[in-house]
Symmetry: C2
Subunit: 189 residues, 2 copies
């Protein structure tokens, strides 16, 4: 777990009980079948989706090719950021890769929580800060690393992804062809 996530969790754990119980009320638990979609293109993203158990991914389609942008495990938050922020229809899929248990944090309820409690606003802001920094790092990875280096980095930083998911998805996450990923794998190991 990285330093910044730790800060968010610290802040969260120091919220007083009144806020915590109020927050819980904006939460709904939900289950998804393996292979089902939590979000599809054309839909407006009206919630944060906190993964309780299982694996999910976010992807978009470009010229008939799926490009996976994020892979979610326990405690990750799935969201289509621009759709959520602007409350406009998005163009991404969020897919359950296994059977999934999710806590749904509703947009409007969360919004009123933020207005009422500055601490919650702070928490949300930290979440987005973290997300922005993560994007910046991803961008840098694509600018500086070749296919093999990106794969090695993935092995180091997110070993579960490389181990648990089929080549097709891992390749689309690294933005390389599955053949290339297969070749890299045989060289590396």
């Amino acid at each position: 777990m990285n330093l910044y996530i730790k800060r968010i969790k610290d802040l969260h754990s120091r919220l007083d009980t009144e806020i915590l119980t109020a927050l819980e009320e904006a939460f709904t638990d939900k289950r998804f079948e393996k292979g089902s979609y939590l979000l599809r293109p054309g839909q407006i993203c009206t919630s944060h989706l906190l993964i309780k158990e299982g694996i999910a991914r976010k992807f978009y389609i470009h010229q008939d090719r799926e490009i996976t942008t994020e892979i979610y495990f326990h405690d990750d938050v799935a969201i289509s950021l621009d759709s959520y922020i602007m409350q406009n229809p998005g163009d991404i899929y969020i897919e359950a890769l296994t059977e999934l248990e999710v806590t749904v944090i509703d947009y409007s309820r969360f919004y009123s929580m933020k207005s009422k409690y500055p601490e919650v606003m702070m928490l949300d802001k930290m979440f987005i800060e973290y997300y922005a920094v993560w994007f910046e790092q991803q961008l840098r990875a694509f600018q500086t690393l070749n296919a093999t280096q990106r794969y090695l980095k993935l092995l180091e930083k997110e070993p579960q992804v490389a181990q648990l998911l089929p080549v097709t998805i891992v390749a689309s996450y690294l933005n390389i062809s599955l053949e290339t990923l297969s070749r890299i794998r045989s060289k590396v190991s």
Copy 2:
């Protein structure tokens, strides 16, 4: 100007005078010579740098190669996000490409403003939201577009960059070699 920036400006213009004057106090104007650095690797980013006049860029060095990540014009905000957020030393340069006039928004003063006025916190949050969405779009551009397409997109979205800056910098912004950019230019026009 995009829709989201418009929202931020709207919110800003609706702040009441008390807050506005308090905000102004956290601002300091500063000038930079062409070629000088507003931030260097190893330094902690202790402010937002609002560009009043001139052009600046952010870049980092990877294997002796400069990679430009952002180019700033009037009303843009230059910041090293992770350094600012964590108040850790960063690894990026912010360079004045022309003579520059900047409004410096001090970290700690801005921080206390945010604690005091929820509206200011909101404004800051919107800034980061916008930044995160921008990063996400950049990432997608690198994942889906080839060198020529990225250049054409740049011409469309940020024509000043392509027109005003030397090939070296434009190429490092598009993350291609200057030779390739030169070839693209001769083909396109």
